[in-house]
């Protein structure tokens, strides 16, 4: 997978800014997507392109259990979020609902990746290529169960051993 970076250089990007509470009543995925990250970046919906990645700091997606958060991002075209760490429910929702890949990166990758960089991610090799800067970073491999759920295409398609 390849795409351009939208970078938020901050920790604790919570579900209240990814999809503000007032929109929790919405259940049409495209309608939800119009309000993605409205709390920190009102222009996000206008500038995001299909295949883009979000890069952020630690504890991405903390706060509520709203599945609206990964839904909003994925229906805008985001295919992966690269963060120093993730809050647990966001992480689960992203994987079990097959909305996007939550990829844990290290401090080096976080510092080096800039807004608008073009990245190529290979989850087989756990490798992130920065095509703009001609650099390669490692990503934290997915755990066994997470890899299997991702490979199956979400929790409902996954068959436990």
């Amino acid at each position: 997978m390849a795409g351009k970076v939208i970078k938020y250089e901050r920790d604790n990007i919570d579900t209240d800014v990814i999809l503000p509470g007032t929109y929790l009543k919405l259940h049409d995925y495209d309608e939800i997507a119009k309000h993605a990250t409205e709390g920190i970046d009102p222009n996000f919906h206008a500038r995001v392109k299909k295949g883009d990645f979000i890069v952020a700091g630690k504890n991405f997606g903390c706060g509520s259990s709203r599945e609206h958060a990964p839904i909003a991002l994925s229906h805008c075209g985001i295919t992966a979020v690269l963060a120093l760490s993730f809050a647990r429910i966001f992480y689960r929702n992203a994987v079990d609902g097959a909305f996007l890949l939550p990829i844990e990166i290290d401090e080096t990758a976080y510092k080096k990746i800039s807004e608008n960089d073009q990245l190529e991610i290979n989850t087989q090799k756990n490798e992130i290529k920065n095509l703009t800067k001609n650099e390669v970073y490692s990503m934290k491999p997915f755990s066994d169960i997470i890899s299997k759920i991702i490979a199956a295409g979400g929790l409902f398609k996954y068959k436990p051993d």
Binding site: N12, D14, D16, V17, P20, G21, T22, L24, K25, L26, H27, G39, I40, K58, N59, C62, G63, S64, S65, R66, E67, H68, P70, S85, A87, R88, I89, R92, N93, D96, G97, S143, D144, I145, G154, L155, F156, K157, P160
Partner: protein, 423 residues
């Protein structure tokens, strides 16, 4: 094994588990509400369309209950439609425990879980809401999940969990007067940070927790979510059994940790050293001692939510407001009709209304920025709720200070952030 490990081992059909193990746990109880319910319905629609699994029947409708809390009474047309969707869903699938507003007992889902004894010691309980952790105070493994996961449980009766590491928070001694469980959990979140317990269990114990009421323990477990925890939990004791017996529940098998239970880390606190705290905007970990920020001018005091509008929370507020008047807009929204009714019977509502407060119906309301008192740009609020991220209670440039009910009430009286000891 500690209590969380024992619960997950039992539910996963394994003799023992250790942190990091994956279990497919059989679930005892499931909750959905007017946000996660329509979300689950959406997942069901997709499953039906794709033909992945039959959605004709639930695994066990008797183990499911439905709350109407986030956007009720219906805030506008879309939320009214969501309420209609819930009614259709519960009728179609034969779910009898549907707590409808305007029809007797209803309230915030987490409050109903204990007011109605819907979850019992020894059980595995999941809910489509992050503050499902609250109910771990009843000696259950209680964990919040998203729509897809809840849909999976509704159809299969089980779900995967990674066994969490457990952080143990020990409180020595009884909390001093004017210091509440809310102050203790704020102190902990300030110490460990917003992700200090990420993916972990937070267990509370020690003489201070034994001394606490069940409602205070619920406050502790409620805000484990704000430290990123998978679950919060307190070991069952006689106080809990009495609490549940008063609500008609007696048929359950409590689970306890072993004597040699292991914990990832033990944190120890002396109750006598704790004092009233607030979490300043814009994060629950942004803790300050009330006396260090007293004098900050406020526009509003909000006393509501699963965190801060249980009966004992309202009692604490009434203690402050009795014979006084509020100086700023103050809203009190009891977290369930049963609490509202007790507040009426015991004269609390009269104290609130005499003080000038607006008393509203049970609802998540402004806590999650939904309706009923959301904040304007630059509006500053002190609130008994659980989160204060930007925009949580309304405008992204509004400000929320999280506090105990006593601090929120004392601040309502002065119009400034106030330590109840200084009133």
């Amino acid at each position: 094994m500690n209590i969380t490990e024992k619960l997950l081992a039992k539910a996963g059909g394994k003799p023992s588990v250790a942190p990091g193990d994956i279990v497919f746990a059989n679930v005892d109880k499931v909750m959905i509400h007017d946000v996660s319910g329509p979300g689950v319905i959406k997942v069901f629609d997709k499953l039906k369309k794709e033909g992945i699994i039959s959605v004709e029947k639930l695994w066990d409708p008797s183990k499911v209950w439905v709350a109407e809390d986030h956007f009720v009474p219906s805030a506008e047309k879309i939320s009214a439609e969501n309420i209609m969707k819930l009614s259709k869903f519960t009728k179609q699938y034969g779910i009898e425990k549907h707590f409808k507003y305007g029809m007797g007992q209803y309230g915030i889902c987490h409050t109903l879980s204990h007011e109605e004894a819907l979850v019992l010691p020894g059980e595995i309980y999941v809910g489509g809401d992050s503050h499902t952790n609250t109910t771990g105070a009843l000696g259950a493994f209680a964990c919040g999940l998203g729509h897809t996961d809840v849909a999976y449980v509704l159809l299969n009766g089980k779900i995967w969990f990674k066994v969490p590491e457990t952080l143990y928070f020990k409180l020595n001694g009884k909390l001093p007067e004017n210091v509440m469980a809310k102050d203790f959990i704020l102190k902990i979140i300030g110490d460990v940070g917003n992700d200090g317990a990420a993916y972990a269990a937070m267990q509370f114990g020690g003489s201070g927790v034994s001394e606490m009421s069940v409602e205070s323990r619920l406050t502790l477990c409620n805000m484990t979510t704000e430290a990123g925890a998978k679950n919060g939990i307190v070991e069952p004791d006689q106080k809990l059994f009495d609490y549940l017996a008063a609500r008609g529940a007696g048929n359950y098998t409590p689970v306890y940790g072993d004597k040699d239970a292991q914990y990832e880390k033990v944190y120890e606190y002396e109750a006598s050293e704790l004092e009233p705290l607030v979490a300043k905007p814009y994060s629950p970990e942004n803790i300050a001692v009330v006396r260090d920020v007293s004098g900050i001018e406020l526009d509003k005091s909000y006393i509501g939510s699963c965190t801060g509008a249980k009966y004992e929370d309202l009692e604490a507020v009434a203690k402050i407001l009795k014979g006084r008047k509020v100086k700023i807009r103050t809203e009190i929204l009891p977290a369930a009709i049963s609490i509202y009714k007790r507040a009426m019977e015991n004269g609390l509502l009269k104290i609130f209304l005499d003080a000038g407060v607006t008393v509203g119906p049970p609802t998540c309301g402004a806590c999650c920025g939904a309706h009923m008192g959301v904040l304007a740009k630059d509006e500053i609020c002190i609130s008994t709720t659980n989160r204060n991220f930007p925009g949580r209670m309304g405008h992204v440039e509004s400000q929320t200070y999280l506090s105990s009910p006593l601090v929120a009430a004392a601040s309502a009286v002065t119009g400034k952030i106030t330590d109840p000891r200084d009133l």
